[in-house]
């Protein structure tokens, strides 16, 4: 029955002179999301609001879940339009609306009329009273509550009359593309997709890098990462996924450095490579899924050791999160099921039984010197053979 949606946005509203930029980005993102939905839509910006009008038959559930993935939207209100054919007709329309949307009538309600067109014969107060009365006549079980109604029935007099009462929450945040771009270090785990999602939610466009170590990690492990990127891309738009072959670098480190420092040194090279690609692709920062103390390479000491090789800021949105909190978000954004598929990623294959948890930077730097002979060449080869997969 609904034919349109009123899109509510939270934070954009408070932006000053840049407001139009945010609104335009949001309109763009909404159009992008709707492309995947059955039906044709017009997205319009009028009176400081964004409306989505369906101009053909459309799949309501698909459309709502598509819109619910657009960052910047705080709420989606399904709406109907009524032509202004006199107050009597409007009353009938409202009564029929309530009849259809609320099969269970044991509810309290309030009519909230608003007139953008002030020449309407009744004023807002009169409309509220008259329409409320008609509803009570039609459905005697319903009660009016002007303070905390179950149903807030919005009636807006504009070019047509707009009626809406429900709001489906959106993901919040800001439209992707308003905040620059960042490079996500994406593994196959639970954390990194969530980290990427969280930063993207603040309006940041995301690209990603994955370190592949054949034959130690399988093609299915890589497919899993592509699948994860796809899940995140449902929110962020297309992701350029860089697949870096890391095997030779890893084996070289294994040959030359103490094994309990393997993970730290390996991660330092991952950061270096990720930063290199980030800079080349105009990213303004790196994103990782690290959270303090989760594993040996994520202690404060280890984070300091991996952090020091980068110039770009490293965003770690999960830094203070517990695993359960991360799992909760990953379930919400539908990456959890994919993340727990049992394919090994390159971080775990050579991991020592007791990796250092408090690496000493001076010692790490000294041991990295052992790699001087060949490491630059290996890193260069890895960068040269970067495979870019566009994930949408």
């Amino acid at each position: 029955m609904f034919t349109a949606f009123l899109i509510k946005y939270a934070e954009i509203g408070v932006k000053g002179k840049n407001r139009y930029l945010f609104e335009n980005a949001l309109v763009q993102q909404i159009k992008y999301a709707l492309k995947k939905c059955e039906g044709e839509f017009v997205v319009r910006k009028t009176d400081g609001r964004i409306y989505v009008d369906a101009v053909s038959e459309f799949d309501y559930d698909e459309t709502v879940s598509g819109l619910a993935k657009v960052f910047g939207i705080s709420g989606i209100c399904p709406m109907i339009y009524v032509e202004d054919e006199g107050f009597e007709k409007l009353g009938q329309a409202i009564v029929s609306y309530v009849g259809k949307v609320y099969p269970d009538k044991k509810k309290t309600f309030k009519v909230a009329a608003r007139r953008a067109r002030k020449n309407y014969p009744l004023n807002s107060m009169e409309m509220n009273m008259e329409l409320g009365g008609m509803i009570l006549d039609a459905y005697p079980e319903m009660r009016v509550d002007v303070h905390k109604p179950d149903i807030m029935l919005n009636v807006e007099v504009r070019d047509k009359i707009y009626i809406y009462s429900e709001m489906i929450p959106g993901p919040g945040g800001m439209p992707v593309g308003t905040g620059g771009k960042a490079m996500l270090l994406l593994s196959g785990g639970i954390d990194s997709p969530v980290a990427g999602w969280m930063i993207a939610k603040r309006g940041v466009k995301i690209d990603a890098v994955y370190f592949h170590a054949p034959p130690y990690t399988s093609e299915r492990a890589k497919q899993k990462v592509v699948d994860l990127a796809k899940k995140v891309a449902a929110y962020t738009g297309p992701i350029y996924l860089h697949v870096i072959n890391f095997t030779d670098i890893q084996l070289y480190i294994y040959d030359k450095c103490p094994h309990d420092e393997l993970t730290i040194i390996m991660r330092r090279y991952m950061m270096r490579i990720a930063e290199h690609i980030a800079k080349e692709t105009e990213c303004l920062g790196l994103i990782t899924g690290e959270s303090i103390g989760q594993v040996a390479s994520q202690t404060m000491h280890s984070l300091m050791a991996t952090n020091e090789v980068c110039e770009l800021p490293v965003y770690r949105p999960l830094i203070g999160f517990d695993k359960m909190e991360i799992v909760e978000i990953s379930e919400k954004i539908d990456t959890y099921e994919t993340s727990i598929q049992p394919y090994e990623d390159c971080c775990t294959i050579f991991v020592a039984k007791h990796p250092v948890t408090k690496p000493n930077l001076n010692i790490i730097r000294k041991h990295e010197k052992h790699l001087d002979e060949k490491i630059e060449e290996l890193v260069q080869t890895a960068l040269d053979t970067d495979e870019v997969i566009i994930v949408r």
Partner: protein, 384 residues
Amino acid sequence: MEVYLDNSATTRCFDEVARLMHQIMCEDYGNPSSMHHKGVEAERYLRYAKETLAKLLKVNEKEILFTSGGTESDNIALIGTAMANHRRGRHLITTRIEHPAVLQPMAYLENQGFMVTYLPVDHEGKISLTDLERAIRPDTILVSIMHTNNEIGTIEPIAEAGALIKRMNPQTLFHVDAVQGFGKFRIYPAKMQVDMLSVSAHKIHGPKGVGFLYIRENAKVNPIIYGGGQQKGMRSGTENVPGIAGLAKAAELIYEHLDEDMDRMYGLREMLIRGAGRIDGVKVNGCPGREGAAHIVSLSVRGIRSEVLLHALEEKEIYVSAGSACASNKPQTSATLKAIGVEKALLDSTIRFSISIFTTEEEIRYTIQALEEIIPMLRRYVRH
């Protein structure tokens, strides 16, 4: 050189089979139940397939039931028998090294209140007839034993088991999962006193999604799929005509030169076992020589995880499987390897090579060479 050595997982389809199926899908596509000419034509393919398969097994064509493959055949044999005979008894016997297509229905039946005895096997994967004899009871309604093990290629003593079962309890039905054995051996269920036999097409260069179950006439088995009453009500659903015709054609072709083909495959197997066995820390699982199937070689490689070795071979375009591919996309340790007593450190270090009639000597030589190169290289990098 691409070397496909995962033929126990599935095989390349015979060109002739694919051509025949294409013709049936695009030209002779009628529904065998239709009354018009197109239907009659389709039915003719079914009849021909039944005749072909019945002849190969030396059974009556009424005793062939087409299914969607090995798994469904096993399910009908187990669950269908249990449902039809539960008033007579609620005890079943199988082995510890069966395919999940047998073990899982057994687990289901256990949940339904049936009792299942799992026979142990020796270090080569063979059951003991004494164990079997001891396990058979007056209320045993079914014994299910695989013909050829899918992970290590061991052949079970089917004829001896058949004779023993019928001597101990003539009422007990005997099911054999011959998914890995059909097309490698001449199998005559009637002579072996087998009541039911499962076969899959895609293991013998036929198409996926089709197979059959031999059910001896008068064996009491209930259907597990109900509907339009096709195949005398035993398995409803429009028959997979192209698949069934492909299955029969593949069976015909595979048995055409069986003896020469098997001699050649045993030669290749021997070559691979010798070549790989020479490499330090490599152990061959299962039965040597003609005691084992011609197409399966199981190797345990100390110190290297099977998944890593598999992918390293893959880089050289050699395709093998870790344990049993049908069930091994989840990294679980294999029940078969455990049952034959493979030591714990080697459970996750075992890979399976399986050859087919298309495998060449050159491919095996290339594979041995690759193993000689890869194994020492991978051993340098291990977890600590």
